[in-house]
């Protein structure tokens, strides 16, 4: 009989808490599909870096488990409170507390098992979708095949039921501890009003904004400063922001009371009175939860943007830094062995050797080399008069240099005055291979001057950075087909075995030493692509995983709060109806109520995160343009709004249905 009761209760719970149920199913599906990805051979073999993906998924699972535990714990605690009278009745009828606890456990396990089962099935499908997306990214063919990895099922089951069992044990303890009196009379207790303390709360409200201001300022200061970032200050900013968020949500209810309910004209407009009271009565008890939700939103919004920024940066770096398939620099300018090796192992289209020059401050290259490289990349060649130079810089720096040229269109090379003809920004390896973010292109007649300048610098000072081994000798290769990771590894191995004796005059003395070649001297686009793709896949998928679970969990929590109170609201709205408010106005009021309720925890994250993101984006500016930063913000925000919006609409629909049902 008790078993039957449990099953029936479970069914009812699943219906009453439909949104929660669906969220648990989706979470199980996501967990399973990600665990399948972690276990998948197809994916880990895509590149040497994709091995890390599995580990990263396992790591991030800890975070997911915490959030899911939070949601499930909150919901079960909530169910217990809502059903206190029912549990009181069980006790009054003489059912042992142990049996009541067993019933509750069974009930929730039934819900858990059903959700897990459906989740796994959905997860199999999701896994196929994710895998084909990843395979597509790596341009690998993929046949859809229904796989069912028992290891992934096991892992998901451990996570999932681990959460359930821990939460249930906690609830059991709670049930064992409660007194029947409290259960039967719990609903009659009044909530504390906070209006008496209103002045203190208005102070807290203002204080919270001051804290936000300081936090944002600190954050901006640290990310924009030229010197090294102090993690301590960033940490301090985070702490201030967290305190501010909680203060804000603790005090906002009083603020609403003060702003609207003490203002008679606002108060009596339409159904405002009803609406604000519904809202404030809830925020009082919800302030801490709201604060936590707001914090999770901030994490999603900022975290998502940082992930996209990193992706942008990596992608743009490929374009900016790797215009040629193979790029090698050498200390001695002897490329013959490399050329031989490359010609043997890659389908070479064109190959070119040249030199760039460094005068201790700026980088230079000659016009004919420059034009040759341009031709290799398919750009038109350029002409220069003998007294003209070109600045070739990253496209993100174009405006900066154009402004400088407008102010002062001249510079000196050696002792010759030259005019800056133009600023060009084609992707040309100017990130670090050809120059350092920018390079001066000089007419061939001036090449000897800059070369002499470089030699003077090398000999005359011990400031010159020997570690970089960079004397400007360059080899670039274009190929018919992109090279792969193995080519890079073998090329490196080949080059690394070579040690070059160098003679330099340091502080007036001639010294000879061996220079070994560092990995930085060899770059291939194929290798870099593979790294970037792996990183891109990992960051995007993990960010998506975490963000989705966070949004679903928090939105579900809000939905549960509102829907399970629909008993109370049913009475309130029925009263409104009896007082002569028409159906349309009631539906509008409901929509408004839910909107405020859902919008409130979003308020601070949306306002706070944009300036924070803009500050964080500053160090990325070198490779990421402002337009891309805004594009990221818009896409993250709209994705967030979409998921959140689905939950909002579902809650509204269910809410109206609950209110109308007799």
């Amino acid at each position: 009989m008790l078993g039957k009761l449990s099953i029936r209760n479970a069914k009812r719970q699943a219906k009453d808490y439909m949104i929660y149920f669906i969220t648990v199913i989706l979470s199980a599906a996501l967990m399973f599909s990600f665990n399948s990805i972690a276990a998948s051979k197809d994916i880990s073999e895509l590149s040497s870096y994709m091995n890390e993906f599995g580990k990263a998924i396992t790591g991030i699972s800890i975070l997911i488990i915490f959030v899911m535990a939070w949601l499930i714990h909150y919901t079960m605690k909530f169910m217990l409170e809502k059903r206190s009278k029912e549990f009181g009745t069980y006790q009054i009828l003489g059912i042992e507390k142990k049996d009541i606890a067993n019933m509750f456990t069974l009930e929730n396990l039934v819900i858990g098992i059903v959700a897990f089962g459906i989740g796994i099935l959905a997860g199999v499908f999701l896994y196929q979708v994710f895998t084909s997306i990843i395979m597509n990214l790596f341009q690998q063919p993929y046949q859809i095949k229904i796989t069912f990895d028992p290891k992934a099922v096991g892992k998901t089951a451990i996570y999932f039921f681990g959460i359930f069992i821990i939460v249930l044990l906690n609830c059991r303890r709670k049930i064992q501890k409660t007194k029947v009196y409290d259960l039967l009379y719990a609903t009659k207790q009044n909530e504390n009003t906070m209006i008496q303390k209103s002045r203190g709360n208005v102070f807290l409200f203002i204080l919270s904004f001051v804290l936000f201001g300081i936090a944002l300022f600190l954050n901006h200061h640290e990310f924009s400063s030229e010197t090294e970032m102090k993690p301590r200050n960033v940490f301090f900013a985070i702490v201030l922001a967290i305190v501010g968020i909680y203060l804000f949500y603790i005090s906002i209810s009083s603020f609403i009371v003060k702003r609207y309910l003490e203002n008679k004209t606002k108060k009596y407009q339409k159904t405002n009175l009803f609406l604000y009271r519904n809202l404030t009565s809830k925020i009082n008890t919800m302030s801490l939860t709201m604060g936590t939700i707001a914090m999770m939103f901030i994490i999603i919004l900022i975290g998502g943007n940082v992930a996209l920024l990193m992706n942008n940066m990596l992608n743009n770096e490929i374009e900016m830094g790797y215009p040629f398939e193979i790029m090698v620099s050498s200390p001695d300018g002897d490329f013959s062995q490399y050329k031989e090796y490359i010609e043997k192992n890659a389908q070479v289209k064109q190959m070119y050797e040249y030199q760039t020059y460094y005068d201790g401050n700026l980088y230079y290259m000659g016009l004919s080399d420059y034009n040759h490289l341009r031709k290799m990349l398919g750009h038109e060649t350029v002409d220069l008069n003998d007294d003209e130079v070109i600045i070739h810089c990253l496209r993100t720096l174009k405006k900066k240099y154009e402004d400088q040229v407008k102010q002062k269109g001249e510079t000196t090379i050696g002792d010759k005055k030259v005019k800056i003809k133009e600023v060009r920004t084609e992707n040309f390896g100017q990130l670090s291979f050809n120059g350092d973010r920018f390079i001066f292109v000089v007419p061939d007649s001036l090449v000897d001057t800059v070369k002499a300048e470089q030699e003077r610098i090398c000999k005359g000072t011990d400031n010159f950075d020997y570690n970089s081994n960079d004397f400007g000798y360059r080899l670039v290769v274009t190929t018919e087909e992109s090279t792969d990771e193995t080519f890079y590894d073998e090329l490196c191995e080949f080059i690394m075995t070579k040690e070059i004796p160098m003679t330099q005059e340091i502080a007036g003395e001639e010294q000879t030493f061996n220079v070994s070649i560092s990995l930085g001297n060899v770059m291939t686009k194929g290798k870099r692509m593979s790294v970037t793709k792996s990183f891109y896949t990992m960051v995007s998928f993990l960010a998506f995983y975490v963000a989705l679970i966070f949004v679903m969990a928090t939105a579900t929590l809000l939905a549960i709060q509102q829907l399970s109170d629909s008993e109370k609201y049913k009475y309130r709205y029925a009263l409104l109806r009896k007082l002569g408010v028409d159906e349309l106005t009631i539906n509008k009021t409901i929509l408004k109520q839910l909107f405020y309720y859902f919008a409130l925890p979003m308020l601070i994250p949306f306002v706070m995160s944009i300036p924070a993101i803009l500050s964080i984006a500053i160090p990325f500016k070198i490779a990421v343009s402002m337009a891309e930063v805004w594009q990221n913000i818009v896409s993250i925000y709209s994705l967030f709004m979409m998921v959140y919006g689905i939950y909002f609409v579902a809650t509204d629909v269910q809410f109206i249905r609950n209110i109308e049902s007799v």
């Binding site: 009989m1 008790l2 009761l5 009278k85 009054i92 009828l93 003489g94 029947v180 009196y181």
Partner: protein
């Protein structure tokens, strides 16, 4: 007659030293087997607190309550569930039926947790349900039947296990007058023909007139007690009204 319930000088305090509320201030009385006893009083007079103390929902600050020979103020926490299901039956103002179970299952639940053999359950339910006029709705769920029917189902649930005492807290509070009268007649019948001992808290003089003994509480003390004896219900009813008038200003709260 055998004494079922003996309440001995019980007190119940709320609050602290400086602000002490005496919800029950030294109440003693006895209930004999087969009695239908009513407890009346204005709101705040302590009647629900008294009922809660007897029904082990709440504890007392001092004094003793004996059910037959067992002191229920000293029952251990782990024995309390067993004690309730063996000795007590409850009828609440708001029914407290489980809405996931049908009416029949609500009643059967009590029998199953008392480990009555399964074969006897149906028979027992049908027998009592007939007396209470709910045999037609046994297969329905609580939300599908009227308040009066729900309360009769609760009454059926309270008596089916033949508890030593049935405790009723404002059982007619949520019912219309016709359903209330029907329920009271049934309770009267349960008392007479099934020998159920009933203790009912009410502030409704009509309900109270079905009892055969009434205690009046005021400010946590017993203010008066009257017995029906051989009087008919109408005479008893006017007697109740007289006592309520005596209760003074508070009588306005009573009805």
């Amino acid at each position: 007659m055998k004494k079922i319930l003996k309440v001995e000088q019980i007190q119940k305090y709320y609050g602290n030293k400086d602000n002490l509320t005496k919800a029950i201030d030294d109440i003693s009385f006895e209930v004999e087997e087969g009695e239908f006893i009513g407890i009346m009083g204005a709101s705040g007079s302590g009647k629900t607190t008294l009922l809660n103390a007897i029904s082990t929902i709440d504890t007392v600050s001092s004094g003793h309550i004996y059910l037959e020979d067992q002191d229920i103020t000293e029952i251990k926490e782990e024995e309390i569930a067993q004690f309730r299901r063996k000795n007590l039956g409850f009828i609440f103002q708001d029914f407290n039926l489980l809405d996931t179970l049908t009416i029949e299952e609500n009643i059967a639940l009590i029998l199953t947790i008392n480990k009555v053999p399964e074969k006897e359950i149906d028979e027992k339910i049908l027998e009592i349900a007939k007396k209470l006029d709910i045999e037609n709705i046994l297969q329905k769920f609580p939300y599908q039947v009227s308040g009066g029917q729900k309360q009769r189902c609760a009454a059926c649930r309270a008596i089916i296990n033949q508890p030593k005492i049935i405790l009723a807290d404002e059982p007619t509070g949520s019912l219309d007058s016709k359903a209330a009268r029907q329920l009271l007649e049934i309770m009267e019948d349960m008392n007479r023909t099934m020998k159920a001992t009933i203790l009912m808290v009410t502030h409704d003089p009509v309900s109270a007139s079905y009892c055969n003994k009434i205690l009046f509480l005021k400010d946590g003390k017993i203010f008066n007690r009257i017995e029906k004896g051989e009087k008919n219900r109408n005479t008893f009813y006017s007697e109740i009204l007289d006592v309520l008038a005596l209760l003074g200003g508070d009588a306005r709260d009573v009805r």
